[in-house]
């Protein structure tokens, strides 16, 4: 008998709040390696979700830069997900990219005949802000010479600043929530990663770190706060999981938006941008 193939599938969906355009969506996702939703991944995987703060300008640009930097650096050096000096180095390198990016942006605005307005100067002096959630998964190989090899497993490590959430499901039941565990803990003033926060030590101290193990059949979901709050507050969580599992790839984006709009109309979901990453561990 042949053991079922052990692999990981990953997909993500990002959509703006009702009333906003695609270009105004301030949630950002980076998944590495870049792959299609039906690609079978057998190596390390990193994903980063960032939620730009409504009250800051250029929040979507900072969220994109931060998520890309986090996913890339977690792929190159997973120790940043353990905290300490490695996370500080990552934080410093992300922040160091902002002012050059902003200088280029400012020049482009001037070139386009739209120099920054007085209120933008005031606002951008404070920087842009976003939450951060980064996860990396690595396969743990089974014993190579075992005649009846145990299914493979995976190690996951995550870092979070703010209220973007990771959920681990086993048998499609919630096994673990990180870093927020209750719907009451969500608010309008989460911890945020500031694009001009040069205090890497403070960022590392306020970040939360977690690790765990996934078995075949487990799933990880990464969600920004509105959807995470809905999930944690669902009266019937089994039903909530089933609803989420209806969306497994980019072709489901329209249906996903329709479903979110329905939740908003029923006042079950706060009107906010939504990003979700779904990681399925196969092989059971």
């Amino acid at each position: 008998m042949t053991a079922p193939p052990s692999c990981v599938y990953v997909t993500h969906l990002v959509t703006p709040k009702s009333g906003s355009t695609e270009a105004e969506c301030e949630d950002a996702v980076t998944v590495l390696p870049g792959c299609a939703h039906d690609d079978m991944l057998r190596g390390p995987l990193t994903a980063a979700v960032c939620d730009g703060a409504t009250e800051s300008a250029l929040a979507k640009d900072w969220a994109r830069l931060l998520s890309r930097t986090a996913a890339e650096q977690a792929m190159n050096g997973p120790e940043l997900l353990l905290g300490g000096a490695a996370f500080e180095a990552f934080a410093s390198s992300a922040v160091a990219q902002w002012d050059p990016w902003l200088a280029t942006y400012t020049q482009a605005r001037v070139a386009a005949g739209r120099p920054l307005k007085w209120y933008e100067h005031t606002k951008l002096a404070a920087g842009a802000y976003a939450t951060l959630l980064t996860v990396r998964t690595d396969p743990i190989p089974g014993p190579p010479l075992n005649p009846a090899p145990a299914p493979a497993a995976w190690r996951w490590r995550a870092a979070a600043l703010g209220d973007s959430c990771l959920f681990q499901l086993r048998d499609d039941r919630l096994l673990r929530a990180f870093p927020v565990a209750t719907p009451e803990a969500f608010g309008t003033a989460p911890d945020l990663f500031g694009s001009r926060n040069h205090d890497a030590g403070l960022l590392a101290r306020r970040a939360r770190f977690a690790r765990g193990r996934c078995e075949p059949g487990d799933r990880l979901f990464l969600m920004t706060d509105a959807l995470a709050a809905w999930f944690l507050s669902a009266a019937d969580q089994d039903s909530a999981v089933r609803e989420l599992l209806d969306f497994s790839g980019p072709d489901d984006l329209d249906a996903f938006r329709t479903w979110l709009d329905g939740l908003r109309e029923r006042r079950q979901l706060r009107n906010d941008d939504v990003a979700v990453v779904r990681i399925d561990f196969e092989g059971r």
Binding site: G19, E24, D51, A53, T54, E55, S56, A57, L58, A59, D61, K117, W118, Y119, E120, H121, T122, K123, A126, G127, A128, Y129, T188, A189, P190, D191, L192, G194, N197, D199, L202, L203, R206, N271, D272
Partner: protein, 278 residues
């Protein structure tokens, strides 16, 4: 639950500032650097409009989460906007931000990045100038605001209700204003009654106070009347005030006596706040 409606571009709310421009506003208030009351309220309006504009600023411009009126009352009652907005009542915030009457430069001390402060020059946009002329027709002003509030609640019946912020020395010359104030807050959307906040600038002395929960300690009947006219802060505003270290209770009102009122802008909830880690 009241006062929980989303404030967005499709569901904006209005903020109506009433500015006392009567002759008595030329009197100074106390303090280390005496200032005319008219200067204090004009400065407060310009700072409030600056804070609101910056709060709602995005890269494509200022978003119209709020529509704003600045109504002066003194020799006349009507729009107190100067410059290209002169004569207009409720104006989308993006237009307000893009059309100050002028932009002054002021010096400001900012962190130097090494634990100290350094003096720098900042732009200070101005939408109105100090005026002190005529009586204090506070009843007329409140009726004017009521009319704007009524129109707004009809236009956005499910939205966050309008907020009226009255900046005055309290010395109404056209009668006791409490009934007119009640008429303003009698208008409501499905989300709650219109809110009326007051800034009292006074030479009566006493301790400056912001958002008190009792009239005890207020120096005179003008202050006590304005306190009584002021709406209780909605729960989410109280929660934010408490998070900033203010002492609040269920009877905390939107009333400020001889103190900075610009923090009221931070009470307004338009989404995730942009705050640095502390």
């Amino acid at each position: 639950m009241p006062y929980t409606a989303e404030i967005s571009r499709s569901n904006p709310t209005s903020i109506i500032f009433l500015v006392d421009q009567s002759t008595s506003m030329s009197d100074p208030i106390g303090g280390e650097v005496p200032q005319q009351k008219a200067d204090v309220v004009a400065d407060a309006i310009n700072r409030l409009l600056t804070e609101l504009s910056v709060k709602c600023a995005k890269e494509e411009g200022v978003r119209d989460y709020f529509h704003v009126a600045v109504i002066g009352y003194g020799a006349t009652v009507g729009s107190a906007f100067a410059g290209s907005l002169a004569g207009r009542d409720i104006v989308p915030l993006s237009e307000v931000a893009d059309n100050p009457a002028r932009v002054d430069e002021r010096s400001k001390r900012v962190p130097d990045g090494a634990g100290g402060l350094v003096e720098t020059t900042v732009n200070f946009p101005l939408w109105m100038d100090p005026v002190a002329s005529g009586g204090t027709p506070m009843n007329r002003a409140l009726r004017y605001a009521e009319n704007l509030v009524a129109g707004w609640t009809e236009r956005y019946p499910a939205g966050f209700p309008p907020i009226v912020i009255n900046l005055t020395d309290g010395e109404s010359t056209d009668g006791e204003p409490s009934a007119a104030a009640e008429a303003v807050t009698a208008h409501a959307t499905a989300d709650g009654a219109a809110l009326l906040f007051n800034l009292h600038v006074s030479a009566a002395g006493g301790t400056p106070t912001a958002f008190p929960d009792t009239a005890d300690g207020l120096p005179d009947s003008y202050a006590r009347t304005l306190f009584a006219m002021s709406s209780p802060l909605p729960a989410h505003m109280r929660a934010y005030a408490a998070s900033q270290g203010r002492r609040v209770s269920e009877t905390t009102r939107g009333f400020v006596y001889n103190a900075d009122i610009t923090s009221v802008v931070q009470f307004l909830d338009i989404g995730t706040r942009a705050t640095e880690l502390r």
